[in-house]
């Protein structure tokens, strides 16, 4: 076998903890009684509601649009009645504007029929992606149609599908690559056509040999001279799935700070985004469902679930049999980059890949102490930054000076905090530094 690809500088090996859910097939959660749709699901200006309270909506109907800037429309995930346009709890913004819909269980189910996407032109495909509300599902929430229209001065020659899934616990992409390989590869072919290029690499970490096999088979079956799709096994090293590290691992190219991947001729999409693009184009189905991983020792039944966007975490917990007495912390996202939340009334968004219910022995809540300058964070940082200096400057009230340590190039992967023997919350220091340095 070819040597496993990886990035040279930094990175860590957190316990994978994927065995809790890796073997569990994706299960469809029954439609909840009520869903809450956050209006700002993507990067950019939030949507403006196009429906009013008490209005009847149908599954797949547009309920919010973007009037200015980049953005995509929002669709109703269920048929039902709009009961409120107000505020919902949000993991980062505390609360955010939202639309609440009460499900009408009597409504006729919506069905989508497949069409041949080959007949559509590049522009038509792009329009379908935008209208279906596709954004980067992997986490960033960047509108996909913008990524698929790179600036003309940066010609793109390579598409990379990100199937690394390097965060511990999460297996949502793993299961989709296993169960929906052909759909993901078809999504890749659609993206290649939109970009007008022929080369696609699918990067998958080597801890998912079954996914690598399934995707390789699907890629071989679908590859043509005009769409050369190949799986690239990656060494297991966090943060292998970070865009810049993934591009470097596969192509050897380095995306400069503050530049987009198109600056080095690459476009990266998550495997689940590729699948959503396929559904948008082939079925005409907007993005309002989401495969996510619910895991940790704190949940009665860990699972990979297909849920409606807008489903409250509390409804998911109820469906999975509640929490266990060991539950100590709830994290939205992965354990490395996710955010602890204090309420279960938070609705799932298009970018929620997982909610983890962690027990006492899965977290480390011991208090942090002073930096002892061991320098481990310097070795762990994949970006070559100096986390310890950033943190020390923040503690000294000199956050505005942290720009010279590259604080704005930090993508908050958490490697530094993971290795820190003093348990310092280095990512939180970085976030503080960014907030203060921006002013």
């Amino acid at each position: 076998m070819a040597p496993l690809l990886t990035f040279p500088k930094g990175g860590v090996h957190p316990p994978e903890a994927k065995e809790l859910t890796a073997a569990l097939a994706i299960e469809t959660m029954p439609v909840p009684d009520e869903v809450e749709l956050i209006l700002g699901q993507h990067i950019g200006a939030p949507c403006t509601p196009t429906v009013a309270v008490k209005e009847e909506v149908r599954e797949g109907q547009v309920i919010g649009t973007v009037t200015k800037g980049l953005g995509v429309p929002l669709h109703a995930p269920v048929s039902g009645t709009v009961t409120a346009i107000g505020m919902s709890a949000h993991p980062l913004r505390v609360s955010a504007p939202s639309i609440t819909i009460r499900t009408n269980r009597e409504a006729a189910p919506v069905r989508y029929a497949a069409t041949d996407w080959q007949k559509f032109s590049r522009e038509e495909l792009l329009k379908k992606v935008q209208e279906a509300g596709i954004i980067g599902i992997g986490g960033a929430g960047f509108p996909s149609h913008v990524k698929l229209s790179p600036p003309p001065n940066n010609p793109v020659d390579t598409l990379i599908l990100n199937g690394a899934e390097c965060e511990p616990y999460i297996t949502a992409d793993h299961r989709q690559m296993l169960e929906k390989s052909a759909e993901i590869v078809e999504g890749a072919r659609i993206i290649l056509k939109i970009l007008g290029i022929t080369s696609c690499h699918i990067g998958i970490e080597n801890n998912k040999p079954d996914a690598i096999a399934a995707m390789s088979q699907a890629a071989a079956a679908a590859s043509t001279p005009s769409a050369r799709i190949a799986v690239r096994p990656l060494r297991v090293k966090y943060p292998q799935g970070s865009e810049k590290q993934l591009i470097q691992s596969i192509t050897g190219r380095k995306v400069p700070g503050f530049a987009l991947p198109s600056a080095v001729g690459v476009v990266v999409h998550n495997v689940s985004t590729a699948r959503a693009i396929r559904e948008a184009v082939v079925l005409g189905k907007p993005l309002y469902e989401k495969v996510m991983t619910l895991s940790g020792k704190g949940i009665a039944r860990p699972a990979n679930l297909l849920v409606k966007v807008g489903t409250r975490v509390s409804d998911i917990v109820e469906y999975l049999g509640g929490v266990t007495p060991q539950l100590a912390k709830i994290v939205m996202g992965g354990p490395m980059m996710g955010f602890a939340v204090s309420t279960l009334d938070i609705p799932v968004t298009k970018t929620t890949s997982s909610v983890l219910f962690l027990a006492e022995d899965e977290i480390d809540a011991s208090p942090h102490s002073q930096c002892i300058r061991c320098g481990w964070c310097l070795d762990a940082c994949p970006m070559g930054l100096e986390p310890k200096e950033i943190a020390i400057h923040v503690e000294a009230g000199r956050a505005e000076e942290t720009g010279r340590f590259g604080v704005f190039e930090c993508f908050e992967c958490g490697c530094c905090a993971f290795v820190c023997p003093a348990k310092r919350p280095l990512v939180q220091f970085v976030r503080l530094a960014k907030m203060k340095a921006k002013r």
Partner: protein, 316 residues
């Protein structure tokens, strides 16, 4: 930190074997007083008491290791006050102190008790007589350290006292020689250091650059004319090994960047050789480390990690 203590225990046990139970008492006094001073200081300064993190215990061990076995039992108490109260907490507390606390205390003791600190050496014991030397003063049996003999009396006296060179290498490596409590057995120090390396607590950069530069510079300048020095003896004698593995790479006072660490290590090596050959003291690594400690932040300011790909045009 407690792992570091564990790595030092074999050397301590060997010193008991070599110089008697006296060294165990001195080390116990040193560790206990360092921990007590840390707790009292942190209470007095209104800081959180962190004695249990093991850092004061490591300082206490290292302080005992660099003082002669024949000193008064209460000398380490004074050293502990200097190391922990002044060297560590008044200079900022853990993470912020500029100088290695144990070495700062040693330098202070050498200046305040010069006779005891430079002459209270004991010859190794025969027949496991570990209850010897237990009185408070043991001046009668004092001897001199190999480097002092070599420096002040020359090679002839050295071989007369310590035997032919080939024997000396083995004896010094195993530890059969007078010296500070924890510096005599090169073997045990290297084993402790290798364990720290294996566990990933330290990297090779500082020990290799310190020992490499000591060996190279001694070979160049340490003999009659160029290239006639004895690099092996230089590395095995004095506190070179203890300094290279346990003192120079103290996290707080050494640089964090690997390039900085190499330069820092070479600086320590060069200063050590300079002091040994040209200075007034037979042994130099303590002062060499103390002199290089404040250079650490400067080196780290000069040498930065290689950034992934900084923004083009240097714009923020």
């Amino acid at each position: 930190m407690w792992t570091v203590v564990a790595c030092l225990v074999p050397s301590l046990l060997f010193s008991v074997f070599l110089f008697g139970l006296r060294t165990l008492i001195i080390t116990a006094v040193s560790v206990a007083s360092c921990m007590a001073v840390e707790a009292l200081t942190q209470k007095a300064l209104g800081r959180k008491v962190t004695v249990s993190d093991g850092s004061a215990a490591v300082t206490g061990m290292l302080l005992a290791f660099v003082i002669p076995p024949g000193v008064h039992y209460l000398l380490p108490v004074l050293g502990a006050v200097m190391a922990i109260y002044i060297g560590k907490h008044l200079l900022g507390g853990i993470g912020y102190n500029i100088f290695n606390p144990a070495l700062l205390a040693r330098a202070f003791l050498v200046a305040t008790f010069p006779v005891a600190m430079t002459s209270a050496w004991l010859p190794p014991l025969d027949h496991l007589a570990i209850f010897s030397y237990l009185g408070t003063t043991v001046d009668a049996v004092s001897t001199a350290t190999p480097l002092a003999v070599l420096k002040n009396q020359g090679m002839a006296a050295f071989t007369e006292q310590f035997g032919a060179l080939s024997n000396v290498y083995t004896n010094f490596f195993l530890g059969w020689r007078p010296g500070s409590i924890g510096e005599t057995s090169g073997l045990l120090i290297v084993l402790g250091g290798l364990y720290l390396l294996y566990r990933g607590y330290i990297t090779w950069h500082i020990p290799v650059s310190v020992l490499g530069s000591i060996a190279l510079l001694t070979w160049l300048f340490g003999g009659e004319g160029l290239f006639h020095g004895d690099p092996l003896l230089a590395v095995l004698s004095g506190g070179a090994l203890l300094g290279a593995f346990f003192m120079a790479n103290d996290y707080v006072t050494c640089p964090t960047n690997r390039t900085s660490q190499l330069i820092y290590g070479c600086g320590i090596g060069a200063l050590t050789v300079l002091i040994r050959l040209k200075g007034g003291y037979p042994e130099g690594i303590c002062y060499a480390i103390l002199l290089m400690n404040p250079v650490s932040p400067v080196l780290d300011n000069w040498f930065k990690p290689v950034r992934f790909a900084p923004p083009q045009g240097g714009a923020q």
